[in-house]
C-alpha cells in the first residue's frame, strides 16, 4: 500500500486556484474585487468616528461635519452593497467550482479508472475520503478555496493595520506579536490533539451515520421488527454518540483555552495602548481625533489577526482533505489506456484462451484463480459450474476486462487482452452480472446505455428478452424512468423484470462474447425454462459463458467446465462428465435427486 502523499497547504491552495481559474477566467477578478471592498470597509468604519470627533474638536461647522460623515456613510453604504453582492458572486463561484470541477473530476475518475482499483479496499477508502473532500460547502476543496479570500484579506489587513499601529508606536507591536504567537501555538496544540484522536471520533461518526441510514431503510425494517433489534441498535447508536460527545468535550475545551488566552492578551493590549495614548495626548502629541483613530486601528488589527489565525487553522484541516482528493485523482491505472491493437479486427466470434491465469486479491493469502488454463473455441457455449467460492465470479471479471490477471495471460484471437486499450476491450464482452444494478434513467437508456439510441432495436431486444409487453404497458413506454430516485414518476420493476431488462441490454450491445452470471436466481421455474430456451436462440453464434447453480442450464451448452479452487477440475460435455462420474456428476446427482421419481430415489436423511 502506497503511503498517502501530503503537500503543504499553500501548494494545495495554489493548485485549487489554478483549477478554479481554468474553469472560470473571471475567478481572480471576483476574488480581487471582494478583497478590495472588504479591505476598504473597515477603513471607512474606523474613519467615521474619527471624522466626527475631528469635526467637533477642531472647530468645524455643521456643514463640514455633515459633509464628512455623509460622504463616508455613502461610501460605506455603497461598499456594503457591493461587498455583499461580490461576496455572493464569489461564494456561488466556489460552490459551482466544487460541483462542476470537483465532483465531476471525482465522478469521471470513478467512472473511468480501473475497476480493479476502485473495488479494492484501498480504492474504496480513497473514494470515501475523496467524496468527503467535495461533500460540502465548508469542507475540503470548497472550504479551502472559500477560506482563501478570508486568509488573504486578513493577511493584508494585518499588514496594513500592523504597519499603521507600528507607525504610531512600535511597542504595541510587541504585545500584538506575543498575542499572535500564543494564539498560533494554542491552535497548533488543539490541532495536534485533533489529529491524534480524530480517527476514533471519525469511526464513531461513521457508525452514527450508518445506524441513521440503517434505521430508515425499509429493507431493514422487517428483520429489525421480527428479531426485536431496536434495543440492540439503540444501544450501539447511543454508544457511538456518547463516545463522540466525550471527545468533543475535550476538543471544545482546547478551543476554549485559545479564547481565554485571547481575553488575557486583549486586556494587556488595551492597557498598554491606552496608557501610551493617554500619555501622548496629555503631552500634546496627538489630539482627540488621533486618539480615536489609533484606538480604532488597534482594535481592528486584533480582529484581522484572529480571523487570520482562524482561516489558517481551518486550512490545516482542509488541506488534508484536499490531499485525499488529489491522491484519489492521481491514482495510477494498471490497464492500458493508450492505443492498442485494433479491436475491430477481432473475429466474431473470437477464440478466447486463458493461459496459466492466476489472480490473487490485494491482501489475499492464496490465489482465487490458480494457474488456470482454458480455451474457448469461437462460438462455443461454455457452462461454468462449481461450489460457492470456487472462483467463478472472479473469472467473469477477468474475462470481462475488469480485472487483470496477476499471473499468466488471456488471449483473444491470439492477441494478449492486456495489449488492448482497456475501454476498447470492454466492447468485446457483454456480461450480465449477478448483482442487478439498474440506473435511475429511462428503460430505453438502460437498455442502450445512451441517451440517443435506436428505438427499433431496443424494442426488438426487449421482445427477445420477453419484456416487450411489460414495457408497452408502462405509462411512458421506453421513456419511463426506473425507480423514483431521480424522477418522481419512475416505476419499480420486479426482480424477474429487472433480470430480463439486463438480458435485453446484453442483446443490444451485441458483443461477440457473452457472459451470464447466475441470471436465473430470482426467476420462477417457468421464467427460468423460458430463459434457457431464449438463451440458445439469442446467443446465436457468439462465444458465451453461462454460470449457474441450477445445473439444468448446462444442457444447453457445448461444454461444461467444473471449477474447483480456482482451477479447472473437470471439463467435457454434460453427458461425458456424467459418465465419468466425477465431481460434476456428484453435484448433478445431488440436485437432480429431488426431481427424480420417489421410487428410484432415496429420500435424503
Amino acid at each position: 500500500m502506497k503511503k498517502q502523499k501530503h503537500r503543504p497547504a499553500l501548494v494545495n491552495i495554489w493548485y485549487l486556484l489554478r483549477q478554479a481559474v481554468r474553469q472560470d477566467r473571471t475567478y481572480p477578478l471576483a476574488l480581487a474585487a471582494v478583497l478590495a471592498v472588504k479591505l476598504a470597509l473597515p477603513v471607512i468604519a474606523t474613519l467615521l468616528p474619527t471624522a466626527a470627533v475631528a469635526a467637533l474638536t477642531r472647530g468645524g461647522t455643521l456643514g463640514t461635519y455633515l459633509a464628512a460623515i455623509g460622504g463616508l456613510m455613502v461610501l460605506y453604504a455603497g461598499g456594503t452593497f457591493l461587498g455583499v453582492l461580490l461576496e455572493e458572486v464569489l461564494s456561488v463561484k466556489n460552490s459551482v467550482f466544487r460541483t462542476i470541477w470537483g465532483v465531476t473530476a471525482q465522478t469521471k475518475k470513478a467512472l473511468t479508472m480501473d475497476y480493479q482499483l476502485l473495488e479494492s479496499p484501498e480504492g474504496l477508502q480513497r473514494m470515501e475520503t475523496a467524496s468527503h473532500a467535495v461533500g460540502g460547502n465548508h469542507v475540503g476543496v470548497e472550504g479551502m478555496l472559500r477560506h482563501l479570500a478570508d486568509w488573504l484579506l486578513n493577511l493584508l489587513g494585518m499588514v496594513l493595520y500592523g504597519g499603521l499601529a507600528v507607525a504610531l508606536d512600535w511597542r504595541i507591536l510587541l504585545v500584538l506579536a506575543a498575542m499572535t504567537a500564543a494564539n498560533y501555538a494554542i491552535a497548533l496544540w488543539a490541532w495536534r490533539f485533533n489529529m491524534r484522536t480524530k480517527g476514533e471520533a471519525d469511526k464513531d461518526l461513521r457508525g452514527q451515520n450508518y445506524f441513521f441510514r440503517l434505521s430508515r431503510n425499509p429493507a431493514n425494517g422487517k428483520d429489525i421488527r421480527l428479531y426485536r433489534m431496536e434495543q440492540w441498535i439503540m444501544g450501539a447508536v447511543t454508544a457511538c454518540v456518547m463516545r463522540r460527545d466525550s471527545w468533543r468535550r475535550r476538543s471544545f475545551g482546547r478551543r476554549a483555552l485559545r479564547s481565554v488566552s485571547d481575553s488575557v492578551f486583549l486586556v494587556l493590549r488595551d492597557l498598554l495602548a491606552y496608557a501610551m495614548l493617554v500619555g501622548s495626548f496629555l503631552a500634546g502629541d496627538i489630539d482627540a481625533a488621533g486618539f480615536t483613530l489609533t484606538i480604532g486601528v488597534i482594535s481592528t488589527f486584533t480582529n484581522w489577526l484572529n480571523m487570520f489565525v482562524a482561516a489558517s487553522d481551518d486550512w490545516r484541516y482542509e488541506t488534508l482533505e484536499v490531499d485525499d482528493f488529489r491522491n484519489f485523482l492521481d491514482q495510477e491505472d494498471i490497464f492500458n489506456h493508450g492505443p492498442g491493437p485494433d479491436v475491430s479486427k477481432v473475429q466474431s466470434p473470437p477464440r478466447v484462451e486463458l493461459r496459466d491465469v492466476t489472480f490473487t486479491y490485494p491482501g489475499g493469502e492464496k490465489p482465487v484463480i490458480d494457474h488456470l488454463n482454458l480455451t474457448i473455441r469461437p462460438g462455443e457455449k461454455i457452462a461454468l459450474v462449481g461450489l460457492n467460492g470456487a472462483g467463478k465470479t472472479t473469472l467473469v471479471k477477468l474475462l470481462s476486462g475488469l480485472y487483470r490477471p496477476t499471473g499468466g495471460e488471456i488471449l483473444v484471437d491470439g492477441v494478449p487482452a492486456a495489449d488492448f486499450n482497456a475501454a476498447e476491450y470492454l466492447r468485446l464482452v457483454g456480461t450480465l452480472y449477478q448483482d442487478v444494478k439498474l440506473l435511475p434513467f429511462t428503460v430505453g437508456e438502460n437498455v442502450s446505455g445512451a441517451e440517443d439510441y435506436d428505438r427499433e432495436r431496443v424494442w426488438a431486444c426487449l421482445e427477445k428478452a420477453g419484456l416487450r409487453e411489460a414495457v408497452e404497458a408502462l405509462p411512458k413506454g421506453l421513456d419511463t424512468s426506473i425507480t423514483q430516485r431521480l424522477e418522481r414518476d419512475g416505476v419499480d420493476l420486479s426482480g424477474g423484470q429487472q433480470q430480463r431488462l439486463l438480458f435485453a441490454r446484453a442483446l443490444y450491445k451485441d458483443a461477440p462474447i457473452l457472459i451470464l452470471d447466475e441470471p436465473t436466481a430470482a426467476l420462477d421455474p417457468l421464467a427460468e425454462a423460458d430463459l434457457y430456451q431464449k438463451y440458445a436462440q439469442t446467443t446465436g453464434d457468439k462465444t458465451s459463458l453461462f454460470i449457474s447453480h441450477r445445473l439444468s442450464s448446462t444442457q444447453f451448452c457445448d461444454r461444461v467446465v467444473y471449477l474447483e479452487n480456482g482451477r479447472v477440475a473437470e471439463e467435457g460435455t454434460h453427458r461425458e462428465l456424467l459418465e465419468r462420474g466425477g465431481k460434476y456428476a456428484e453435484l448433478f446427482e445431488i440436485q437432480s435427486s429431488y426431481y427424480k421419481d420417489k421410487t428410484d430415489q432415496e429420500e435424503p436423511s
Binding site: 470627533v53 455643521l62 461635519y65 460623515i69 456613510m73 453604504a77 456594503t80 456561488v92 460552490s95 460541483t99 462542476i100 465532483v103 465522478t107 469521471k108 470513478a110 467512472l111 475497476y115 473495488e119 479496499p121 457508525g207 452514527q208 429493507a219 422487517k222 421488527r225 434495543q231 440492540w232 441498535i233 439503540m234 450501539a236 447508536v237 460527545d245 471544545f252 479564547s259 485571547d262 481575553s263 493617554v278 482627540a288 486618539f291 482594535s299 460457492n388 467460492g389 475488469l402 456480461t431 440506473l439 435511475p440 437508456e445 441517451e451 431521480l486 426482480g495 420462477d524 421455474p525 427460468e528 447453480h549 441450477r550 444442457q555 453435484l587 448433478f588 440436485q591 437432480s592 426431481y595
Partner: protein, 615 residues
C-alpha cells in the same frame, strides 16, 4: 405575515422551544445568559471609551482609573463568555444528537407499513435535511444557533436603547440659547429621532417578507437538488461500476450529471443572488438610521448640549442598534424556516401508529401447539389498485413442513408479510388459536416467528451479536446455531470468532459472500427458537452442495415446529408435508407433492416439469 400566520408562528415557536427544553433543560437559560453577556461586551467599550475621551478633553484627571475599569470589565465579561461557550456548544451538540437518536428510535419502532410510506418518510427528510444546507446546521442544532444569534441581537437592541435613553435628559441651556438649540434639547427631539429609526425599520418589513419568500424558495429548491445529486452520487457505488464499464454508460452518466448540476447551479445562482440583493438593501436602508443619529448628536454637540464623548457613545450605540436590527430581520426569516422544519420533525415523531395493538399475551406452550389460520384474507398495498392477495383461506399445518411455490408476483412474500403483521389484511382476518392476531400484543406475537426473508439483512456489527440480535448473547448457543446452519467452520477461521466485526460501514470488519450471509441469517432464525419458522428463498445464492445440506438438515432444524418454506427450486417441495401453490394472489392448489403432481394439468405440475425435465 398575515394574522393567523403570526399566531401559528408563536404557537409553533413555543412548541419548538419546548422540544429543546425537554431535550436539554439547561440549554435555554445558558443560551440566554450568553446572549446577554455577548451583547454587553461592545457596550463596555462604547460607554467607557466615551467617558475616557471626555475625561481626556477635560484635562485627563483620573483617566487611568477609567481605563482600568474598562479593561477589568472586558476581561470579566470575555472570560465568562469563553467559559460558558464550550459548555453551551456541548449542550447544543447533545441536543442535536438526541434529535438524531429520537429519529432512529422512531424509525426502528414505527409501523413497518409507515416506514414504507413515502409521505411519512418525506416529512422526516424535510425535518432533518431540510435546513442542513448552505453550511447551516439543520434540525434542532440550526434552530438553536439561529435562536442564540437572534437573542443576542435582541439584547444588543435593548442595550442600545438604554444607552440612547440618555439623549432624553435635558442639558443646561444658556439663557440666550437660540430656538433650534432649545428644540434640540427637548425630549421630543430625541423621541423624533427614535420614531425616525423605527420608521426606517418598518420600511424594511416589506423587503423582509420578500427576502423570506425568496429564502424559502432557495431552501426548497436545494432539497430537491440535493436529492437528485444523491441519486447520481449513488451511481458511483462500486458494484454499479461493472455495468457502467461493460455497457459503456459512463459518458451518459457524466453528461446527465453535469446537465443536472448546471441546471441546479443556474437556478440556485439566480435565486441566491436575488436573495442577497434584497438582504443588502435591508442593511443599507438601516444605515439611514445611523446617518440620522450622527446628524442629531453632532448638532447637539455643536450646540454644547452633550460632550464629544457622548457623541461617540451615542453613535456607537445606534450603529450597534442598526446592525442588530438588520441582522435580526434576516434571522427572522431563518427562524421561520426552522420553525417549519421543527414542526415537521415533531409531526414525524408524533406519527401515531395506525396499527391496532392488542393486549392479549400469547400463551406460552412447549408443545408448539400454535394454530395459524387465514380466513378470507385479501390485501392491497397502500396506494395500489391491484389486489396482491385475494380471498386467501388456509390453515398452516401445525408442526408440519409447508412449501409455498408459484410464479414471480403470485403473492408468496406478501403472504408472509401479513403473517408477520408487517401489514394488516385489507379484508378478512388471520387467527392464532382462533383469535384475530391483531388482538395480541404485537411484541409477544412476533416472538412466535423466526423468519429468514428473501432480502435478509446482516448488520455491520459483531458476528455473534448479529446471530443473537442483541449485545448480550449466549456464546454456546450461538455456536450451536452456526453449526446447524453450516457456518461454524467458517466462523472458527475468522480472526476474532464471534467477536469478529462484519462489513466496513461501522466495523473494520470482514466481507461475507451471499451464501455466507444466508447461512448467518438462518443461524439467527434458529437462535430465536420460535415455534413457527419461515424461510423465504433461503438457498437462492447457495451452490448445490450447500443447498443439499440445508435441505437435508431442514427437517432436523425445524423439528416439531410449524415451518414455511418458499422457493423457486421446486425440489424443496419434496421434503415438505404440504404444498401451497400461489397464482395471481390466491392459493390455486394445495396438497402433498405427490397429490399435486398427479393433477397433470395443474400449475404445480407445470412448474415441476419446467425444472425436472432437465434432470
Amino acid at each position: 405575515m398575515k394574522k393567523p400566520d403570526r399566531k401559528e408562528f408563536f404557537r409553533d415557536f413555543q412548541a419548538s422551544l419546548q422540544v429543546v427544553s425537554a431535550q436539554m433543560p439547561g440549554l435555554l437559560p445558558v443560551t440566554i445568559l450568553k446572549a446577554l453577556l455577548n451583547a454587553a461586551y461592545p457596550f463596555v467599550g462604547i460607554i467607557l471609551g466615551a467617558q475616557i475621551l471626555d475625561r481626556l478633553l477635560a484635562g485627563g484627571e483620573g483617566v487611568m482609573t477609567l481605563v482600568w475599569w474598562m479593561v477589568g470589565l472586558n476581561l470579566a465579561l470575555s472570560l465568562a463568555m469563553r467559559l460558558i461557550e464550550p459548555y453551551q456548544e456541548n449542550l447544543m451538540c447533545k441536543s442535536d444528537n438526541m434529535t438524531d437518536i429520537a429519529i432512529v428510535k422512531k424509525c426502528l419502532t414505527m409501523d413497518y407499513q409507515q416506514l414504507e410510506t413515502q409521505e411519512i418518510m418525506d416529512r422526516k427528510i424535510r425535518a432533518v435535511e431540510g435546513s442542513r444546507i448552505s453550511g447551516g446546521g439543520g434540525g434542532t442544532l440550526g434552530f438553536l444557533y439561529d435562536l442564540a444569534d437572534a437573542l443576542g441581537h435582541g439584547a444588543t437592541i435593548l442595550y442600545a436603547l438604554l444607552t440612547v435613553s440618555r439623549l432624553f435628559v435635558r442639558g443646561t441651556l444658556a439663557p440666550d440659547a437660540p430656538v433650534w438649540v432649545r428644540a434640540l434639547n427637548s425630549p421630543w427631539a430625541a423621541l423624533g429621532l427614535l420614531a425616525a429609526a423605527l420608521g426606517v425599520t418598518a420600511a424594511c418589513i416589506p423587503l423582509t417578507r420578500w427576502a423570506n419568500r425568496e429564502e424559502a424558495k432557495v431552501y426548497e429548491g436545494s432539497i430537491d437538488g440535493n436529492r437528485r445529486f444523491g441519486a447520481f452520487f449513488g451511481l458511483l457505488d462500486y458494484p454499479v461500476g461493472k455495468d457502467l464499464r461493460t455497457y459503456d454508460m459512463s459518458g451518459m452518466v457524466l453528461d446527465k450529471f453535469l446537465r443536472n448540476e448546471r441546471a441546479k447551479n443556474s437556478l440556485f445562482r439566480k435565486r441566491y443572488m436575488r436573495l442577497q440583493g434584497i438582504r443588502s438593501m435591508i442593511s443599507i436602508v438601516n444605515l439611514a438610521t445611523v446617518l440620522l443619529a450622527y446628524a442629531f448628536v453632532g448638532l447637539k454637540a455643536m450646540a454644547g448640549l452633550i460632550t464629544v464623548g457622548a457623541v461617540s457613545m451615542q453613535v456607537g450605540a445606534i450603529t450597534a442598534f442598526a446592525g442588530a436590527v438588520s441582522q435580526g430581520i434576516e434571522l427572522m426569516g431563518k427562524l421561520d424556516l426552522h420553525r417549519k422544519y421543527m414542526k415537521e420533525f415533531a409531526a414525524f415523531l408524533d406519527t401515531p401508529s395506525e396499527k391496532y395493538d392488542g393486549t392479549l399475551p400469547v400463551e406460552k406452550r412447549d408443545d408448539g401447539d400454535y394454530d395459524l389460520e387465514f380466513r378470507d384474507v385479501s390485501f392491497r398495498y397502500p396506494n395500489q389498485d391491484q389486489w396482491s392477495l385475494r380471498h386467501v383461506t388456509c390453515r398452516l399445518p401445525k408442526g408440519q413442513k409447508l412449501a409455498v411455490v408459484g410464479p414471480n408476483g403470485a403473492g408468496k412474500t406478501t403472504f408472509i408479510k401479513l403473517l408477520c403483521r408487517l401489514y394488516d389484511p385489507t379484508e378478512g382476518e388471520i387467527l392464532l388459536n382462533g383469535i384475530d392476531i391483531r388482538k395480541y400484543d404485537y411484541g409477544e406475537y412476533l416472538s412466535l416467528l423466526s423468519v429468514v426473508f428473501q432480502d435478509f439483512r446482516i448488520f455491520s456489527m459483531k458476528l455473534g451479536e448479529n446471530v443473537a440480535a442483541s449485545v448480550d448473547y449466549n456464546s454456546q448457543r450461538v455456536w450451536e446455531c452456526l453449526e446447524k446452519a453450516g457456518m461454524r467452520e467458517r466462523v472458527e477461521r475468522m480472526p476474532d470468532g464471534l467477536e469478529t466485526g462484519l462489513f466496513q460501514q461501522k466495523e473494520d470488519g470482514i466481507e461475507l459472500s451471499g451464501g455466507e450471509g444466508q447461512k448467518l441469517a438462518i443461524a439467527r432464525a434458529l437462535y430465536k427458537d420460535a415455534p413457527v419458522v419461515v424461510l423465504d428463498e433461503p438457498t437462492a445464492a447457495l451452490d448445490p452442495v450447500s443447498e443439499y445440506e440445508i435441505y437435508s438438515r431442514f427437517g432436523r432444524l425445524v423439528e416439531g415446529k410449524t415451518s414455511v418454506y418458499i422457493s423457486h427450486r421446486m425440489s424443496s417441495c419434496r421434503f415438505c408435508d404440504v404444498v401451497f401453490v400461489f397464482d395471481g394472489g390466491t392459493i390455486v392448489q394445495q396438497g402433498s407433492h405427490e397429490a399435486l403432481l398427479d393433477q397433470e394439468e395443474g400449475l404445480y405440475a407445470q412448474l415441476w416439469r419446467a425444472q425436472a425435465q432437465y434432470y
